[in-house]
């Protein structure tokens, strides 16, 4: 075993993996925020609550209906995504033509309502949720032990991020989406139903958050407050990556997760702060974020 800077390699690799896992959640969540922001011009403050709902729905499926992890991975994002579509259709749609700040405040209010309802029902203590049998257990790599579920989280989130990127950049639907982001009125004139597209996009972004929630359920306890603290970090990630940049969110998400993991090795008290310190640094050097365009 070769220690690097007096840190045993297995500790370093262990924290790197943990960082990569946190990064997976940052990446999926900031990706969802970016997709939503691109078309709706709303910073979706409800995102953390929707992530929490994703975890809760999969917990409810198991507890009340005996439906396990694999179906939940699909059902939970669809269910939460539908609540998102309803939210868009009946509430968010009313405020598109006023200042973006109101969208932020409105979705903050929605997040407060949702989180309080879950807190009222289930308290703040976490509900345990077991990983499926296929993904429990560990791989012994001789120099370190890898829990399979953690590897799965990283793999699944990379796949989802790559898939989303492909849909937006390479498909016909994605090209409509990008066009509608740039010139909604013109795209509408070509006969594309832009309001419906906006509704579906919001639902999709919300479903991404819920998917992250299902992934998180076996790792962390399922609780009503699991989303709100994460949200502040994800906002910093979005500021760093550059708002509205799909690639930027993914790279910044994973990068900052790893940075956080490394900080935990070298200076543990700083691990909560490092993302925000990085935000200050990036803002002084590149005000528009790493991949953002100044506007």
């Amino acid at each position: 075993m070769i220690p690097i800077l007096n840190i045993p390699t297995d500790v370093l690799l262990g924290q790197l993996l943990l960082g990569l896992i946190n990064g997976s959640f940052y990446a999926i969540l900031s990706l969802g925020l970016s997709v939503i922001f691109g078309l709706l011009n709303i910073i979706n403050f409800t995102h953390g609550a929707q992530y929490m709902m994703g975890a809760f729905v999969s917990w409810m499926l198991l507890t009340y209906f005996g439906i396990g992890y694999w179906p939940a991975l699909l059902i939970s994002p669809v269910v939460v995504g539908i609540t998102g579509v309803i939210l868009e259709r009946f509430i968010l749609r009313r405020i598109y033509d006023i200042d973006h700040i109101y969208g932020f405040l409105l979705t903050y209010g929605v997040a407060l309502v949702i989180e309080s309802i879950f807190r009222g029902q289930y308290g703040v203590s976490g509900q345990p949720y077991r990983a499926p049998a296929l993904l429990s257990g560990v791989i012994d790599l001789d120099f370190m032990v890898l829990p399979i579920y953690r590897l799965w989280v990283v793999a699944a989130s990379i796949a989802v991020c790559a898939g989303t990127w492909l849909i937006i950049e390479k498909t016909r639907l994605g090209s409509y989406l990008r066009a509608a982001t740039e010139r909604p009125v013109l795209v509408r004139a070509f006969g594309v139903n832009v309001p419906r597209m906006i509704m579906i996009t919001y639902g999709f972004g919300v479903a991404l958050a819920a998917f992250a929630g299902v992934l998180a359920a076996p790792l962390y306890q399922v609780s009503s407050i699991m989303g709100s603290n994460l949200m502040v970090v994800v906002f910093a990630v979005v500021v760093i990556g550059g708002m509205g940049s799909i690639g930027g969110s993914i790279v910044a998400g994973f990068g900052l997760g790893i940075l956080e993991g490394l900080t935990k090795v070298f200076y543990p008290p700083g691990s909560n702060l490092v993302v925000f310190v990085a935000m200050i640094l990036i803002l002084t050097l590149r005000p528009a974020g790493l991949f953002g365009k100044a506007r």
Partner: protein, 326 residues
């Protein structure tokens, strides 16, 4: 792209002779209040009213949304509590120290966040405030989860006994009025008018040769300083500084107070603070549901009452005046 296009209420519709009358009535009510209502509740309202007014100076008059004002409020609460308890400073000097901490933090936040506008500004201030929160959570002098408790109420002037709740109330009232007058003075100064110009049309203000960023920065620091004063005042009055004051949720609360009362109105934030504190005090038994109600109020305010109570009232009076004039 719209950046600063908040729904702001038109100038006051009360006529000139009514203003001193209404102010006199409000002052009389404030003087009588502690003999009728629980003084602790009133102090709570006044501290938050000052906080909301300071926030409104930024959001209502400069059109800047900060989502990190808890850092100034809570940070100053810790500083003044520390000064009063550990360094043995009298209440007045502790307040000054808290204010100074608000000013310094405000300068740092402003320097970083001023690079971005609109919604980004809100997100950046939120991140910066989170740093302050984690420091408060981990540092030695803040007492972690316990906070700083048992802060002495001791005035510089020997004949003022702040241990008495009613005396403390009048002390809080005086500090509140000083802060409120400072805000009024700022809003009606050339600097205040310039802020409104920036709010209405930033590129135009810049094209007229004003250093827009500098004025926004000054407004931010001023707002942070007064928020610090409010936080320090609360720490002295309640003899307590805790994580609640510096938490992210507190930043949202002050936005809601301002929004309910009316963004950009003079007395709106005071009304908003009164309503929210009353809700929290008298609905406390419902626990977590109070937050659900707050969230619902947020939604309703944004969808239907963007001018807030005072703003809607002013608009109503204006419509009536117009109709009567015709």
């Amino acid at each position: 792209m719209v950046s600063n296009n908040l729904t702001i209420v038109p100038a006051a519709t009360v006529t000139d002779y009514q203003v001193p009358l209404l102010a006199g009535m409000a002052l009389a009510a404030a003087l009588v209040a502690p003999f009728v209502v629980y003084p602790i509740f009133l102090m709570n309202v006044l501290c938050f009213a000052l906080f909301a007014c300071a926030f409104n100076l930024l959001m209502g008059f400069a059109g800047i949304l900060s989502f990190g004002h808890a850092a100034f409020f809570g940070g100053a609460a810790y500083v003044s509590a520390h000064c009063a308890k550990e360094l043995g400073l009298p209440a007045e000097l502790s307040l000054v120290a808290g204010m100074a901490s608000g000013a310094i933090l405000g300068a740092v936040f402003g320097w970083v966040a001023i690079r971005r506008q609109g919604i980004y500004f809100g997100m950046i201030t939120m991140g910066l405030a989170q740093i302050v929160y984690f420091i408060a959570l981990q540092a030695q002098f803040t007492g972690g989860e316990d906070g700083i408790q048992g802060v002495p109420r001791r005035s510089m002037l020997p004949f003022i006994n702040l241990e008495n709740d009613r005396t403390m109330y009048f002390f809080v009232l005086v500090v509140f009025l000083l802060g409120f007058v400072a805000i009024l003075r700022t809003v009606n100064s050339p600097f205040g008018h310039l802020l409104k110009a920036i709010r209405e049309n930033e590129p135009r203000a810049a094209s007229l040769g004003y250093d827009v960023d500098r004025f926004k920065f000054l407004a931010f620091v001023l707002s942070a300083t007064l928020s610090g004063l409010a936080g320090a005042l609360k720490a002295i009055a309640f003899q307590l500084a805790t994580l609640t004051d510096v938490e992210f949720f507190m930043s949202g609360e002050v936005v809601l107070m301002t929004l309910i009362g009316g963004v950009g109105t003079i007395i709106g934030p005071i009304v908003g603070a009164g309503i929210l504190i009353a809700m929290q005090t008298y609905l406390a038994e419902f626990g977590t549901w109070v937050k659900a109600v707050q969230g619902a109020i947020f939604i309703i305010c944004v969808l239907a009452f963007r001018k807030g109570l005072i703003g809607e009232f002013a608009a109503l009076m204006e419509r009536r005046a117009k109709r009567a004039g015709r």
